[in-house]
């Protein structure tokens, strides 16, 4: 009897291991935060001593999910990128494409990216830097990716510092050509198309001919809009945003999205502090 039992049970165990859970009826495994975003690096030109080149960190985001802008808004956390570079190579940037304003239930205002987020950095190699042929550029990042729940994720990517991509037909236009959509969302600076002024502690922005204006403030601790839900988006050519500015405030800045005749342009503005000379 005992012998039979001991023979049967292991067999049953093997059978279970073979068939496991039913193949149908069980839900697909949910993706982790690290799986919902895939990260890659694209280098414009080989890294050469005494020269600079652009490098893009590309985050491809699962449809219906989003990551956050450098000012995430009232909730969330932007992606954070860290670099591992050969000796003598440094990085500056990034230039961030403009986000979308997202208003969540309850009137929570966030700034997010959907689809693909491309951050444009610049690599500089010192004049006396020696870049070995097998040197690589590596970036790692952590992020918060959300839909109706939020998940933390992380990833990394690396690219050879010396390999040129011969198939890259947009080499002449650099990464801006290769990532035209993201590049087109980099806010313009110093444009005459938008006028800014302070009316007391209300920031007044005007863009002639605009249908809709959306103000997305940069992350500043001591200078914050007090009514961003109601005032962050306005129809017409003028938008007025009330600010609370503390003693330690150094700047007010942000991105203005200007919708006009079905197209949107983005402008980065640094209107200074209220009451400035």
């Amino acid at each position: 009897m005992l012998l039979v039992c001991s023979l049967v049970m292991p067999l049953a165990g093997v059978a279970h291991a073979q068939f496991g859970e039913p193949a149908f009826g069980s839900p697909p495994a949910e993706k982790t935060g690290s799986e919902l975003v895939s990260m890659s690096l694209v280098l414009d030109r080989p890294v050469r001593s005494g020269a600079s080149t652009e490098v893009a960190v590309v985050f491809d985001i699962e449809p219906d999910w989003y990551v956050y802008w450098l000012n995430p808004g009232e909730t969330g956390l932007p992606p954070d990128v860290r670099w591992e570079l050969p000796a003598g190579v440094s990085v500056s940037g990034p230039r961030w494409p403009a986000p979308d304003r997202k208003v969540l239930a309850g009137g929570i205002v966030d700034y997010v990216h959907v689809g693909r987020l491309v951050l444009f950095y610049e690599l500089h190699a010192d004049d006396d830097a020696t870049i070995p042929t097998d040197a690589s550029i590596k970036a790692s990042a952590d992020w918060l990716v959300c839909k109706d729940v939020c998940l933390l994720g992380n990833g990394d990517a690396s690219v050879s510092a010396s390999v040129d991509d011969p198939a890259d037909s947009s080499a002449a236009s650099g990464l801006s050509g290769r990532f035209a959509s993201a590049s087109g969302r980099i806010p313009l600076r110093g444009s005459e198309a938008v006028r800014s002024s302070w009316d007391g502690r209300t920031l007044v922005l005007r863009a002639a001919g605009a249908d809709v204006l959306t103000w997305m403030p940069g992350p500043t601790e001591d200078a914050v809009p007090t009514r961003i839900l109601d005032q962050g988006r306005a129809e017409g050519d003028t938008i007025r945003i009330e600010y609370e500015v503390g003693g330690d405030a150094e700047d007010v800045w942000g991105v203005l999205a200007v919708e006009s005749e079905g197209r949107t342009h983005w402008y980065e503005l640094h209107p200074g502090l209220p009451g400035e000379r």
Partner: protein, 216 residues
């Protein structure tokens, strides 16, 4: 002719007044955003009554009036920032234990609406995380909106006079980059100051976390 016009005008005025009255009453539900008292550090914190995950009712003023300082913690068991402060570090539970003999009451609040996947799971997480304080059900979001709670976690501290003394983050380390001992826990700091009768030096900080899952 004149008296008929007067009568008509009176009727019109009454009609307008009636519509105005109905409009005022009608916007009662929306008054949460425009008329109802909002939480502000230094001012009286809005009172409320909510039922917890075990079916018990709790009213804020019942605690403050018996001399307790109250900590409110906006909670969502599926939010990675909340999980960090329960499963990675025992931040919330240890703080609650540290102040338990000092007339401090800790109340967690879940404002997720009824359809959301993080609604109705509080008892399960209270059990698995060993949470001994109430997790209040604010599924209509009414209390969350009175306090303008944005994130989970989002922390508030109310003193024994019912005054809001702290509003903001649990600590200064949203990315969990620091060693635990190097993190500044704003709630621990504020509780120490309140119980010592001192000013709260960092009374308002920017809360970090996932968004509170309000109803549309």
């Amino acid at each position: 002719m004149a008296s008929r016009r007067k009568g008509m005008l009176a009727g019109l005025a009454a009609g307008v007044a009636a519509i105005a009255a109905m409009t005022l009453v009608g916007t009662g539900a929306n008054a949460d955003h425009h008329g109802m008292k909002k939480a502000e550090v230094g001012k009286k914190a809005p009172d409320f009554t909510l039922v917890d995950h075990e079916g018990n009712s709790h009213t804020l003023s019942e605690y403050t009036e018996k001399g307790h300082v109250v900590v409110l913690e906006w909670f969502n068991a599926k939010c990675p920032f909340v999980v960090r402060h329960y499963a990675t570090y025992p931040t919330m539970k240890e703080l609650n234990e540290k102040y338990s003999g000092k007339k401090v009451t800790w109340l967690a609040i879940n404002s997720a609406h009824e359809g959301h996947m993080t609604h109705g799971i509080d008892a399960e997480y209270a059990a698995s995380w060993g949470i001994e304080y109430p997790i209040l059900n604010d599924e209509t979001g009414k209390v969350g909106k009175m306090y303008e709670a944005k994130t989970t976690p989002h922390m508030y501290i109310i003193d024994t006079d019912g005054i809001l003394r702290y509003n903001g983050a649990i600590d200064d380390d949203p990315r969990d980059r620091k060693e635990r001992s190097a993190k500044v826990n704003y709630v621990d700091q504020a509780l120490g100051q309140i119980l010592a009768g001192e000013t709260v030096t960092q009374a308002e900080t920017k809360a970090y976390g996932c968004s509170v899952k309000y109803a549309k």
